[in-house]
């Protein structure tokens, strides 16, 4: 089966359990099992190739520009891990079916499990390290979901969060390390990286890359000092613990160390960091495990200890160490998963995992007892079980390892760790299963159905078979070890045997087992000593650290972002001015290349009006109506400036937008207070003045420098000028740019405009349907009202002028392609014509004559523009390619027909709709407030002089 399919199957299969959830638990578990089994069989179809020493690969270019390709490869190591992941996964699914209670949502559980399985398979089969990182993060996420599966338990949530924080942090470091590695080699493909041992180890970036990668591996594989998250992750359902935290996920770090072993190992840095971390983790985990009373906590720390053992073996950098590591990964996966499942059975049946409340289960649960005992004895290193073989190899390797110049150090610590390891295994057996039957179990336990004990039993069969007949797996272990080592060195073939003769490792093994038994004899006083000894509690430290980080971040955020808009404004202004000034001062500015153009009196007058109006606004801004007039002057002068500087289109747009903006602000001012009170202190006003003047100065200087120099390279406008007529069929280059060269841009903008108008409409609707409505209805106008609501002169004038304005709009639209004008401007002009009707004749009068809703007009505009663009697909041209032709219909002159005009029609409609919808929304608020608005225009407000109407009391 293709490697892609093996990786993809669990991911796609993850959709199924959720769908099958309602079909019953059997169907749900069955479909999950089927998916995993298919992937497993698919993997096995690749076995012959792997056994033949080939590397199966599959490749799809994904983002070649980033060096990120979907490349998968399957060699001995990848096959070994994939086999563990999928094989144990099958057993876990079967076990989980029996383990989960009816209250648990099985579909959700199996969905997460399959997601995790897919991510894990992805890690071990990735040939691209960036791809590997993606899968790596996916395992962190899916394991977060699995650990926190029992959402109602606070321990579950805390454990999940801690696991995600620690492994996520490590994942971040790993990304950095992998990118460095890719930088060194110049490729992100593992197969290339693994070929470049010398290049990598000679690089100055080797050490940072190594440290970052190891940080990722150590956090994932719970190595000291990051070991603390694993025991807290035991709040997960037991199948999860058995799967993630013994057999697979925690081995991801180990896998990566093994995968990169050929290029990273063999240096003193690797040796000291990895071996020391592994050794400390092994001893520490074993000692803590002995004194844990929770079965799963004991197993968790024992897992930590065994992961340390494997890490240490990889750290030694010898081929024998690598082989021993591979063998121990296999053995540990079998006995530890079986032990976790047995612990789950005990918990499931006796409703407690506390060793102090257990004992004597041997008589009540003979099957579970047999399974757990065999697995535990294997873990303790008793001969004829597989744990003995790999532990012996570890001790053998330890006797050859010299750390910090002390040849006795590693063997002594290894023996010490093994002693505690044996002790906790004996405690597990002795205190749980042996001893007299008690009468105070929470519920009386008995052996579960075969569905629960069969999966661990299968694993225990493997434990015994490998233990008795190691030659069965020997060749496979050699194969995997060879792919770990890569081409770096020849594997020193040492046959795996039960009896090696009277070697030091044997004596160390005996010492460990005997010491473990003695330890059990003095367990009670040792426990008292342990409880009395002060120990740092990792969870408290971790949470304290997190709390400090959070308060630090909060202090920073609340200082900058405290809900005061004027503070954000000031901070942003200071930052921009500061950064800009710094860039300006440190950068270089060439000499001016342009002559200053002479100033004309007209320009000076316009400038004076603009500056006077703008500055007056600051001084008169408390009178809001006055400031509105002043901003009108400023806007007018800007428009005049545009005309003066050869931009007629801009001037037309600016002046029409100015009109609608002022109308809009007037409508708003109808409700808002007419004056701004003095609120800020003199200090604050002085501060703002300084800031404002600084901002004004830097922009002046920048604009002046800018204007006095030519562009450093030829602007692309040359292209537009040259092709406007030839390619776009129009002589108004600005319009051709809008509807043709940059048509897609314009298309986006009319959509934005439409969305803004719809947003205003929605806000109005919300306001009018909420409590504001009542306030509006009860509101009294705060200003005296005009005597005639609809002055006759104005009504007549606007109605007469309406067709004229529409004609002007039509004319501006039509000529837009060749002369100043176009959709935007004519849309604004037509809007003004309609708004005038609203203003003069009243809302009711105008809206009663409204044929088409404005939403529809916006929609039609966007649709027409979009369809025009799509039209070019039919002649196999890209979106929005325009075309034009000249036609002549007698008796008219020859005129031009361009698809761009159709696009411009869309722009026109969208602008009209958007402007009108905004203004209409505002005036709807007004209509609600001042109640009597009659259908009849040209009337005198009948209520005005009626003293009985309290609403008009303002007069």
């Amino acid at each position: 089966m293709s490697l892609f399919l093996i990786v993809a199957l669990p991911f796609f299969g993850a959709l199924l359990p959720g769908l099958m959830n309602s079909a019953g638990r059997q169907a749900c578990a069955g479909i999950t099992f089927t998916v995993s089994l298919t992937a497993f069989i698919g993997l096995l179809t690749n076995l012959p190739a792997v056994l033949a020493g080939e590397v199966v690969s599959a490749r799809v270019e994904w983002m070649p520009s980033l060096g990120m390709n979907f490349t998968l490869m399957l060699d001995g190591l990848g096959f070994f891990f994939a086999l563990l992941i999928l094989g144990i996964g099958l057993l876990i699914i079967a076990y989980g079916r029996a383990y989960l209670s009816r209250k648990d949502n099985m579909g959700e559980f199996f969905t997460y499990l399959l997601l995790f399985q897919g991510a894990m398979v992805g890690i071990v089969l990735s040939d691209n390290i960036l791809l590997l990182l993606v899968f790596w993060e996916l395992t962190s996420l899916s394991s977060f979901l699995l650990i926190g599966y029992w959402k109602h338990l606070p321990e579950g949530r805390q454990g999940a969060r801690m696991a995600l924080t620690v492994t996520g942090m490590g994942g971040l470091a790993l990304i950095g390390g992998m990118l460095l590695l890719g930088q060194i080699v110049g490729s992100y493909d593992l197969s290339v990286i693994l070929e470049n041992r010398e290049l990598i180890q000679a690089s100055p970036l080797y050490l940072p890359a190594l440290l970052l990668i190891l940080l990722g591996c150590f956090t994932k594989s719970a190595q000291f000092p990051f070991h603390f998250w694993l025991p807290h992750a035991m709040a997960a359902p037991t199948p999860v613990s058995a799967y993630l935290h013994s057999a697979t996920m925690v081995k991801a770090g180990i896998f990566l160390m093994a995968r990169l072993w050929p290029v990273l190992s063999g240096t003193p840095e690797w040796f000291y960091i990895v071996t020391t971390a592994g050794l400390i983790t092994m001893v520490l985990g074993a000692v803590i495990a002995l004194f844990k009373h929770d079965l799963k906590a004991l197993l968790a720390f024992s897992t930590v200890s065994h992961l340390g053992l494997i890490t240490m073996l990889l750290g030694t950098g010898t081929t024998f160490g690598a082989m021993a590591a591979v063998f121990h990964i296999l053995n540990h996966a079998t006995f530890k998963a079986a032990l976790f499942m047995s612990a789950g059975i005990v918990d499931h049946e006796a409703h407690t995992r506390d060793i102090r409340r257990l004992g004597g289960l041997r008589h009540l649960m003979p099957v579970t007892f047999t399974i757990a005992t065999l697995a535990a004895l294997s873990m303790a290193g008793i001969p004829l079980l597989n744990g003995f073989l790999s532990k012996e190899m570890m001790l053998e390797e330890a006797t050859h390892t010299v750390l910090f110049g002390a040849p006795w150090l590693v063997p002594a610590l290894a023996t010490f760790g093994s002693l505690f390891s044996a002790a906790y295994c004996f405690r597990l057996i002795g205190h749980t299963f042996l001893g007299p039957v008690r009468d105070d179990y929470p519920t009386t336990p008995h052996d579960p159905d075969a569905g629960m004990w069969l999966p661990p039993a299968i694993l225990v069969v493997l434990v015994v078979v490998i233990g008795v007949a190691p030659f069965l797996v020997q060749d496979f272990v050699f194969l995997v070890a060879k792919s770990v080592i890569g081409g770096v060195a020849e594997l020193e073939v040492k046959y795996i045997k039960i009896w090696h003769g009277l070697v030091p490792a044997l004596f160390m093994s005996i010492a460990a087992v005997v010491g473990g038994l003695l330890m059990m004899a003095v367990f009670k006083p040792a426990l008292r000593l342990w409880d009395a000894a002060p120990r740092p509690e990792a969870k408290t430290i971790f949470e304290g650290l997190i709390a400090r980080l959070v308060s630090l971040a909060e202090g920073l955020i609340h200082g900058l972002h405290n809900g005061a808009f004027s503070r954000y404004g000031a901070i942003a202004a200071v930052t921009i001015i500061g950064a800009g000034t710094y860039a300006f001062v440190t950068g270089t500015v060439g000499a001016p290349t342009r002559e200053m153009q002479p100033t004309t009196p007209v320009a000076l007058a316009g400038w004076a009006m603009l500056v006077a109006a703008t500055i007056a606004m600051v001084f008169l801004h408390r009178n809001r109506l006055m400031s509105l007039i002043l901003i009108g002057i400023a806007g007018l002068m800007v428009s005049v400036g545009f005309v003066f500087f050869s931009a007629p289109d801009l001037a037309m747009t600016q002046i029409t937008v100015e009109v609608v903006t002022i109308i809009l602000l007037l409508l708003a001012l109808n409700f808002l207070p007419k004056h701004s009170p003095v609120e800020s202190s003199t200090m604050r006003r002085a501060r703002d003045t300084v800031l404002a003047i600084a901002g004004g100065l830097v922009t002046t200087v920048m604009a002046y420098h800018f204007l006095m120099r030519d562009a450093i390279s030829a602007p692309i406008s040359e292209f537009h000028l040259a092709n406007s007529y030839k390619g776009g069929g129009g002589t108004n280059v600005v319009n051709v740019i809008l509807v043709d060269f940059r048509g897609f841009d314009t298309y986006g903008e009319i959509i934005v405009l439409g969305i803004a108008a719809l947003l205003i409409y929605a806000l109005t609707e919300t306001l009018l349907s909420g409590p504001v409505r009542a306030r509006l209805l009860n509101r009294k106008p705060d200003q005296p009202r005009a005597g005639d609501m609809h002055p006759t002169m104005m009504v007549v004038l606007t109605r007469v002028i309406m067709p004229v304005v529409l004609l002007v709009g039509f004319y501006i639209f039509l000529r837009g392609h060749n002369e100043p004008g176009g959709g935007f401007i004519s849309g604004l002009v037509v809007s003004i014509a309609v708004v005038m009707q609203y203003m003069a004749s009243g809302f009711n009068w105008a809206s009663a004559r409204l044929r088409y809703p404005y939403h529809g007009i916006i929609g039609a505009g966007v649709l027409i523009a979009g369809l025009t663009g799509i039209g070019s697909w039919f002649v196999t041209k890209p979106f929005l390619t325009s075309d034009f032709t000249y036609v002549r219909i007698p008796p008219f002159q020859e005129f031009e027909l361009a698809t761009a005009a159709l696009f411009d029609l869309g722009v026109f409609l969208a602008v009209v709709g958007a402007v009108m919808l905004s203004l209409e929304s505002f005036s709807r608020l007004a209509r609600r407030a001042h109640t009597p608005d009659t259908e009849h225009a040209m009337d005198i407000d009948p209520s005005r002089n009626d003293p009985a109407t309290p609403a008009k009391g303002g007069l």
Binding site: L604, S676, D688, S918
Partner: protein, 118 residues
């Protein structure tokens, strides 16, 4: 001429900034409008100043103002209308809902207020 335009941009920016830092919604909106003018004129001036040569193609003339900044600013003007309208609506909604057109959260008023008196 260049100095006039540059200083006009500066004045618009300065006054816009000052008004943006006020404490009520209406002046802030007007301040943002002034900043919009400043930005639009600045962007427009990136095509440099040309007098009497609009980018309307004519026979026998080959010197035109830069059309690209004009096209970009044209859409910017229309979009800024949309933005102003939305902001005004939000300000209006907030005022109608709470009878208060202050721009800052009341809680922070106090904290900034105490900071100012120190």
């Amino acid at each position: 001429m260049e100095l006039l335009v540059a200083s006009a941009i500066g004045v618009l920016t300065a006054c816009g900034l000052y008004l943006t830092l006020r404490l009520r919604t209406f002046p802030v909106i007007l301040g943002i409008s002034l900043l919009t003018y400043a930005v639009n004129v600045f962007l427009f001036s990136s095509g440099r100043l040309t007098i009497g040569a609009p980018p309307i193609l004519r026979d026998n003339i080959d010197s035109y103002a830069d059309p690209l900044p004009q096209a970009l600013v044209l859409t910017a003007i229309v979009i800024s209308f949309g933005m102003t309208a939305v902001v005004v609506m939000i300000a209006l909604g907030a005022f109608l809902g709470s009878d208060d057109d202050r721009i800052n959260d009341p809680l922070d008023e106090e904290s900034t207020g105490s900071g100012e008196t120190q």
